[in-house]
């Protein structure tokens, strides 16, 4: 099968392979990763045909351009030897108009050396005319240098480094990444509506890749907030639904009969109003959904409690307190809950409970093979595989060490799960899970995201088992609103 070299962004490295795999799964083709180091700026893959690399250029958020690979080497001697051994690759291009583009990656090469390098390809004997504008074939040279953060401002250093690339590649241009410009068109900065919980456009699209979003699918965010995870799915043609316990997140500040809720305004801006089936206000633990087995993917950024608190209908700070049995009659003879501004009481929703509930909910709502994609916050050093609750009928799709975004002392890892069960099963009960309530008392190791919010405000001081409510209250009082987005 033919080889292709992709120029790939160095951001979000651990999300790269999962994204490419998801694209291949979505369009039903095989992809093999040929590069021995899969985390450089150039990634060589094996695909059956050009059409497949076009799909990667359509959807790959981190892919900047792609060439059909004809030869490569650790030096130009090796490269030319490789190309001489495969002269058949050049056969279809011998009489075409052509040009050669020189691209050095993580390093600048002088125009003089670029010209000299291009001249060394004279032996190929291309018969077609050189045409710098719209040639029939554009040959490309990628010189791939190691990315450095230091030293590159020093001229002598740069000169010494010149030519000391890791590898050089030669091939013909297939095209440029068509998904990457979406980072600009969908940038939060220019979005008609956003909030401090909005996910940045790049990560929104990367997460969405994992959902296999496509026309005719239904994708649901149960913690939809300002909707930032749904615009990408809608862009790829999926129908989307969102719900949130806090209607103000969905609506924004504007009030009144004719106002368009914020999330719908942003959907309009992106031309995807028709993809937004609905946004609803409810507590995910008190859900009005009638049945399971009809959602193709769930995508969500659960409340970590750092900025947008995880809460659920109920009373009590650390322990559940009894609720009213009967509606509350106001002095004016009306019931409190029938007032327009009525909001029920909320109690905290511990993250470990929430995570397990989320997976159980996905087990119920998803169609067979449907996907659950979410961020799991974690205190980096304490993370172990056990942190992802095991649920019958759901399995994690993990590539290597997983996809992690690291913020130093804490991180978040993107979890992708697939529903392996073929039935809907019973709806989750959303009761407090007793195992987790006991972490406070026991000396056993708690999952890395246990009481994540408290840990965040304690700057992740190591701890064993016991957590006191005082810490929580103290930290709540003293903490400024500095938090991760």
């Amino acid at each position: 099968m033919p080889l292709y070299a992709l120029r790939v962004s160095l951001s979000h490295l651990s999300f790269r392979i999962p994204e490419l795999l998801s694209i291949s799964q979505l369009f039903g083709f095989e992809i093999k990763f040929v590069s021995s180091d899969k985390f450089r700026s150039v990634l060589v893959v094996e695909l059956e045909k050009d059409e497949h690399v076009e799909r990667i250029l359509d959807r790959g958020m981190m892919v900047m351009s792609a060439i059909k690979l004809y030869a490569s080497g650790g030096s130009y001697e090796e490269l030319h030897a490789d190309l001489r051994a495969h002269k058949e690759y050049l056969e279809p291009h011998m009489d075409q108009s052509w040009k050669i583009t020189f691209e050095s990656i993580n390093h600048n090469v002088t125009e003089k050396r670029q010209r000299e390098t291009i001249d060394t390809f004279e032996w190929t004997g291309l018969r077609g005319p050189i045409r710098l504008k719209n040639p029939e074939v554009e040959f490309v040279i990628y010189e791939d240098y190691t990315f450095l953060t230091e030293g590159t401002h020093d001229r002598d250093f740069r000169l010494r480094r010149d030519g000391n690339f890791d590898r050089v590649y030669f091939g013909s241009r297939i095209g440029f990444g068509r998904a990457r410009p979406l980072l600009n068109t969908h940038s939060v900065k220019t979005r008609a509506y956003y909030g401090n919980t909005s996910m940045d456009a790049e990560m929104g699209f990367i997460m969405t890749s994992q959902t296999l979003a496509a026309p005719g699918k239904i994708i649901y965010d149960p913690f939809v907030g300002t909707g930032s995870l749904l615009y990408a799915a809608a862009h790829w043609g999926a129908y989307v639904i969102g719900s949130d316990i806090d209607g103000r997140q969905i609506r924004g500040k504007a009030k009144g009969k004719e106002t368009v809720p914020g999330v719908f305004r942003a959907a309009e801006q992106y031309g995807v109003s028709n993809q937004f089936l609905d946004c609803l206000v409810y507590d995910v633990t008190q859900s009005p959904l009638r049945r399971g087995g009809w959602i193709d993917a769930i995508i969500t950024d659960p409340p970590y409690g750092v900025r947008a608190g995880a809460k659920r209908t109920g009373k009590g700070k650390s322990h559940k307190k009894p609720l009213l049995e009967e509606p509350h009659l106001l002095p004016d003879g009306t019931y409190s809950h029938t007032r327009e501004d009525y909001v029920p009481p909320f109690r905290p929703y511990e993250l470990t409970n929430l995570m397990l509930d989320l997976i159980l909910l996905a087990r119920y709502l998803l169609v067979p093979k449907g996907r659950l994609v979410f961020f799991l916050p974690t205190v980096t050093e304490e993370y172990e595989a056990i942190d992802i609750p095991v649920v019958e009928g759901m399995r994690e799709l993990k590539v290597g060490e997983g996809s992690v975004e690291n913020f130093g002392k804490w991180g978040r890892r993107l979890i992708t799960m697939e529903k392996t069960a073929t039935d809907d099963g019973p709806p989750p009960t959303f009761e407090d899970h007793p195992d987790y309530a006991d972490f406070e008392k026991s000396q056993e190791r708690a999952p890395g995201h246990y009481q994540f919010r408290d840990r965040y405000f304690e700057s992740f001081k190591p701890r064993v088992g016991k957590v006191a409510d005082e810490v929580r209250e103290e930290s709540e009082a003293s903490s400024a609103s500095q938090g991760p987005a």
């Binding site: 026309p215 005719g216 129908y239 639904i241 316990i245 209607g247 969905i250 609506r251 009969k257 106002t259 368009v260 809720p261 719908f264 109003s273 028709n274 937004f276 089936l277 609905d278 946004c279 609803l280 206000v281 409810y282 507590d283 008190q286 859900s287 009005p288 959904l289 009638r290 049945r291 087995g293 009809w294 209908t313 109920g314 009373k315 009894p322 609720l323 009213l324 049995e325 009967e326 509606p327 509350h328 409190s336 809950h337 029938t338 327009e340 009525y342 909001v343 029920p344 009481p345 959303f430």
Partner: protein
Amino acid sequence: MVRLITHNMLTCHVRNCTKDNFPLVFSDVELVVREAPENLDFIRRFLPKLDWAALVDTARSLGDESLPGTQPEEFTDEQLRALHHVLMEMHVEEGKMTCRGCGHIYHISNGIPNMLLAEHEVGR
């Protein structure tokens, strides 16, 4: 929004309300029809998830008589188009959804339904 495809998936979830809790009944409705591109494959695929009787009742309560009372075994393209119109193009922007079982009223404003339960209504 609320579209009828969503409405067909919603039930009253008040504690101990298990009878006549579906479908929720629309009243004081402001209905808007917005044309949406057809995806009849999607409609066909979604059919088994629908509650037909509830959908027909609801559509009729909003003045749309295009759906047959009993679900056809095989849908013609024309019937699928009518279904597309009912599910995807009819939006309830303002109004109420009332539970026939317990009487809870769910309010819709600016196309967004408030389905939060009151303190005495949540499961314990």
